[in-house]
């Protein structure tokens, strides 16, 4: 049954849409139902889906995709400052600009493969970071980051008389508006910004699904398994890999633009190598080359970043309050390095465990559980006839 579900695109899209739209309800019991975090799930989900088109399909591991995230953010901010607070022009420009940058960076980096490609992309991203930090201060506002100001032109918008900074909107619909609803005994927060990101996430997921199923995607997977054979099969692999690189760069630019749509501030740290590394972790943790894996990986990492990092010694003492003081102190002592500012330790350990025991990421874990459940179901029936396994070599 799971196999069938895995290959039915309509069911996949339906399931994905329902899960995303119900996000505020599903995640509320886990303390993750607030708009800021939900938006991050959606945005970094888009980022990771795009990254997976390059890394998951072609196997080219880019360590510089945060550069495109930052480029998208800056482009969108300039649209907010010059043209209008409507998010549509901002999104369009950021996708175009990050696409152009990825053509240039991709063209140069893809001349090499393997570790050299990774190092080249890392070098380009760090270069972009340093340029944004210092040389391009007139465009990027350097260390402070690019912010909205009252005296910005915004030639399409009406003159701002309110005296407060405008906020990003979609044809008048303010994206930071939240409807709070009491339901199922919980306080549920439905935020326009999240639903805007969610719709784009679903569209991004659909495009990725189509690429996975297309002849273009088949060629990209062939690049990953045997690029040499593909060349001798009459395929010019360079434009295929460049195509994948540019598409993933545009996804990153889109995600960057959505970041400033929900929080209008763009700083250079967004382009730093740690940000590039984060999307690699997301993709591997969720499952490289799988459709849904990157979204799950992005969710898990953003969840732990926001939830584990908020747990401090006080909160832990609260958890262990019912125990005798000596035991509670001991447990707090043991657990505290893994939470709060030490949440990276938890992430690192999780990552190690996943890579060691589930090379296919969390998706492989889920598949194994389903297979295991399926095999239990089968065992009750008659045993399967032994497959005639052919001796290899």
């Amino acid at each position: 049954m799971f196999e069938k579900l895995k290959n039915n695109d309509k069911l996949i899209m339906l399931g994905f849409t329902i899960m995303v739209f119900a996000g505020p309800i599903i995640l509320a019991p886990f303390g993750a139902g607030y708009p800021d975090l939900l938006q991050r799930f959606a945005i970094f989900g888009i980022f990771a889906i795009g990254f997976n088109i390059l890394f998951g399909l072609t196997g080219y591991l880019s360590f510089g995709h945060a550069a495109f995230l930052g480029i998208g953010s800056y482009s969108a901010m300039w649209m907010f400052k010059l043209l209008t607070m409507n998010v549509i022009p901002a999104l369009i420009l950021s996708v175009i600009v990050s696409g152009l940058f990825s053509v240039v960076i991709g063209y140069m980096s893809l001349r090499r493969s393997g570790i050299y490609f990774s190092i080249l992309t890392l070098a380009f991203a760090q270069m972009s970071y340093n340029l944004a930090y210092s040389v391009f201060t007139p465009i990027t506002n350097g260390e402070t980051g690019l912010q909205l100001r009252l005296q910005d032109a915004r030639i399409l918008d009406a003159v701002n008389t309110s005296g407060s900074l405008p906020s990003p909107m979609l044809f008048g619909l303010k994206l930071n508006a939240t409807n709070v609803v009491e339901m199922f005994g919980m306080k549920l927060q439905f935020n326009w910004g999240f639903y805007f990101c969610a719709i784009i996430l679903i569209a991004a997921f659909y495009v990725s699904l189509r690429i996975f199923r297309s002849p273009f995607g088949l060629m990209l997977r062939a690049v990953k398994t045997n690029q040499n054979r593909l060349n001798y099969t009459g395929i010019n692999t360079r434009p295929y890999t460049l195509g994948a690189f540019v598409i993933s760069g545009m996804y990153a630019g889109l995600a960057g633009a959505l970041l400033v749509c929900t929080d209008p501030l763009a700083g250079p740290e967004r382009m730093q190598w740690t940000a590039s590394g984060e999307v690699v972790l997301m993709t591997i943790l969720g499952g490289v080359g799988t459709l849904i894996g990157p979204v799950i990986g992005a969710g898990v990492i953003k969840y732990s970043e926001n939830i584990f990092s908020k747990i401090n010694d006080k909160v832990l003492e609260g958890y262990f309050a019912m125990m005798p003081e000596s035991i509670s102190d001991f447990l707090v002592f043991i657990v505290s390095p893994f939470v709060g500012s030490g949440w990276h330790l938890t992430l690192g350990l999780t990552f190690m465990l996943v890579v060691t025991f589930l090379p296919g990421g969390l998706v492989e874990g889920a598949t194994r559980i389903f297979d295991w459940l399926g095999s239990i179901g089968k065992k009750t029936k008659s045993a399967k006839p032994g497959g005639n396994t052919e001796a290899a070599e």
Binding site: V207, N226, N236
Partner: protein, 253 residues
Amino acid sequence: MGILEVQNVSKRFGGLQALDDVNLSVEEGTIHAIIGPNGAGKSTLLNCFVGRLLPDAGTVLFQGNSLLGKKPHEINQMGVSRVFQTPEIFTDLTILENVMIPTFAKRDGAFKFNPFGRVLKEVEIKEHAEKLLHDVGLQDSLTEPASAMSRGNKRRLELAMCLSQEPKLLLLDEPTAGMARADTNATIDLLKEIGKSHDVTLVIIEHDMHVVFSLADKISVLAQGTVIVEDLPENIKGNPKVKEAYLGETDDG
């Protein structure tokens, strides 16, 4: 003039003269075997045909056009396919996908940007690939991953991949190496069949004399980087030069 003309080709690797003034002419529609002792330069010569190596001197003409300096994918698009000595296939993909890829390459050329096409709806491509897999006897496991195949089946798969492109010239680098006798004979029959039914010229590098003499219309003997004899199979056996070249060598076929 033949479909493949090799004129005065030389290639040196450091102190080793791998190819020394090689001349070769392959007639269209024939099966041409290149034999010779180990280290004679057979694989080097083949690498010069497909763009993997650039000779130091000489020309390689395919249907009158030079192949030198062309990229591997350009040479393939001209109608030259190659089966490698160790099977080069897409191990992570299914057997069917392995054959669909070269079929796409034949139909769509070296590059086509179609991210919204659907592989599943490419019925013609699929049927074509299935037919070729049937021809080589791999019709039973189309959706299996190619990595799970035996080495002999991997060779057949690679052959199907090359044939799906309907090449004008098919280069085979030791197509029966490491095969059991029965598999070797099956491969001989298959290649004979291909030579007849497809409009294709075959160039075969082979150690196994049984294979060579059952297939070849013409044989070139390569020794120490140069062609010492080019003749019909029946004249090769008794040729003293050939005996000399193989002296001290054992037939490892």
